[in-house]
Symmetry: D2
Subunit: 139 residues, 4 copies
C-alpha cells in the first residue's frame, strides 16, 4: 500500500451554522490529498492533463465519525491499496492533528481517461513506474 | 416511497477545467433537493434547527454516470424509501432535464440530533406526521 | 438601464458559523443574476463561449449591509447602466424577499474577450442588438 | 505597515472551464491570508470568537490582472496599513510564486463586532498590543 499524509487547516468558509466543517468539503480534502500523494511520487496531475489524460471521479463515499471544527488542522491520509490499472481506487482517513481523533473515512474510484475521446484507458506507463516501488504490480 | 424533484441550473462556478460539473457539487445538489422535499411536506429545516434539532449527514455516496455541463438544467430526485426513525436514509437520482440522461445516483444517511447535547434522537412527531400520508409507519 | 431580478434560496452550505451567508457567496449570486439577465435578453452565455467569446470578471466590489440568513429567499437585481462596449459594467442590489431589507450592493466589470487569443474584443453584434431595445447606444 | 505572505496551491475545484481560478476564490485566498497574518502576530481568530468577538467583512474589492492556473502556487500578501480601531482595513496582493507575476490586488474592510449584540466595538486590547510593535498607534 502506498500512503501519503496531507495537512489542511480548516477555513471559515468551510464551516456551517453548526460550527463544524460542512460535509461536502471532505471531498475537497480528498482531492488535495490524492493530488499531493501523486506529486510525492513524481506525478503531477497538471502534466497528465497536458498530455491528454484526465482522471475523473467515478464514485465517492464518505463516512462521517466526528466533526472537524474551524481552525482545526486535519491530517488527510490517502491510501492506494493496489497498482491502478484503468480504475484508481483510493481510501482516505481524516484525523484531527491535535487530538488524533478519527473524523471521517472515505473512498473514491477514479479512472484514467483519454481527454479528447472521453474513453477509459490503462494507466500511463510513467505513472505505473512511479507507483512500482510502492505497490506490487497486479498479476 | 416519498419522492420530490428539484430543478437546478448548473452555474459556471460549479464547472471545472474539463468543462463539466466538478464532482463535489452533486452533494450540494442533494442538500437542496432534500431541503425542498421536506419543505414540500410542510417541514422547514430552519424551523427544526430553531427548535434544537439538527440533521447532520452521517454518510454519503455518489456514483457518477455522465457529466453535467455548464448551463444544463438538472433534475435532482430525492427519494425517501421508508419512514425515518433516528436515521434518515435518502436516495438521489440526477438527470439532465433536456435529454433525460442519467447523470448520477447517490445516497445519504442523515440523523436527527439534539443540537445542544449532540446526541441522536428519534424523529420529531410533527415530522413523522408530515411523512405519514406518504410512507407507511415502520412496524 | 436594463435590470433583471434573480431569486435565490440561501442554502446551508453557504452559511457560516455566524449563522449567516458567508461573504464570498454574494459573488456567486451576482454570477447567477447576470447570467439570467442575459438569458432574459435572449443571450445564452454558453453559446457565446461556444462561439469563442468569454467574459472574464475584471473587477468586483461588494458592500455588505445586513446579513442574509439560512433559508432566506434573496432577490438579486442586476443592473446594466449602459450599452457595453468592450467592458461590461454591472451593478447589483441584493434584498431579502420577505422583508425587502437591503442586504448588499455590488459592482462587477466584465469584458468581452476572444477565448483563444485572450484579447479584449468589442461586444458581439448579436449581443448589442439584444441590449438595444433597453439601452441607448453609446454615442 | 504589517505584512504577511500566505502560500496557497491552486486546487482543481477552484478552476473553471476557462482553465483558470474562478474569480470568487480570491476572496477565499484573502480570508486564509488574513487569518494566518493574525496567527503570526499571536492572535487566533478562533479564540476571538470564543471570547464573543466576530470580525465580519464590511466590504471587499478585487482587481483581476492575470489568471492563476490549476496547480500554481500563489503568494497572497496581506497588508495592514494602519492600527485597526473599529474597522480593519486590509490590502492584498496575489502573485504566482514561480514567475512572480502579479495576478490580483484587493482590499477588504472588516470590523470588530460583539457577537451577541451584533454591534461594532473597538479593537480588543490584546489584539491592539499584538499589532503595536508593527503599526504605530493612531493618534
Amino acid at each position: 500500500m502506498y500512503t501519503y499524509q496531507h495537512e489542511h487547516r480548516v477555513r471559515y468558509r468551510e464551516c456551517d451554522p453548526m460550527g463544524v466543517v460542512y460535509h461536502t468539503h471532505y471531498l475537497d480534502y480528498f482531492e488535495a490529498a490524492r493530488t499531493e500523494a501523486l506529486r510525492d511520487l513524481g506525478v503531477r496531475y497538471r502534466d497528465l492533463e497536458r498530455n491528454g489524460i484526465i482522471m475523473p471521479v467515478v464514485s465517492a463515499t464518505v463516512d462521517y465519525k466526528q466533526s472537524a471544527e474551524y481552525d482545526d488542522v486535519v491530517i488527510v491520509e490517502a491510501q492506494f491499496p493496489e497498482m491502478p490499472e484503468v480504475r484508481v481506487p483510493i481510501d482516505y482517513v481524516v484525523r484531527r492533528a491535535e487530538t488524533d481523533t478519527l473524523l471521517a473515512t472515505g473512498h473514491t474510484d477514479l479512472c484514467f481517461m483519454n481527454a479528447e475521446r472521453r474513453r477509459p484507458v490503462r494507466i500511463p506507463e510513467p505513472v505505473r513506474e512511479a507507483f512500482l516501488p510502492h505497490l506490487p504490480a497486479s498479476s
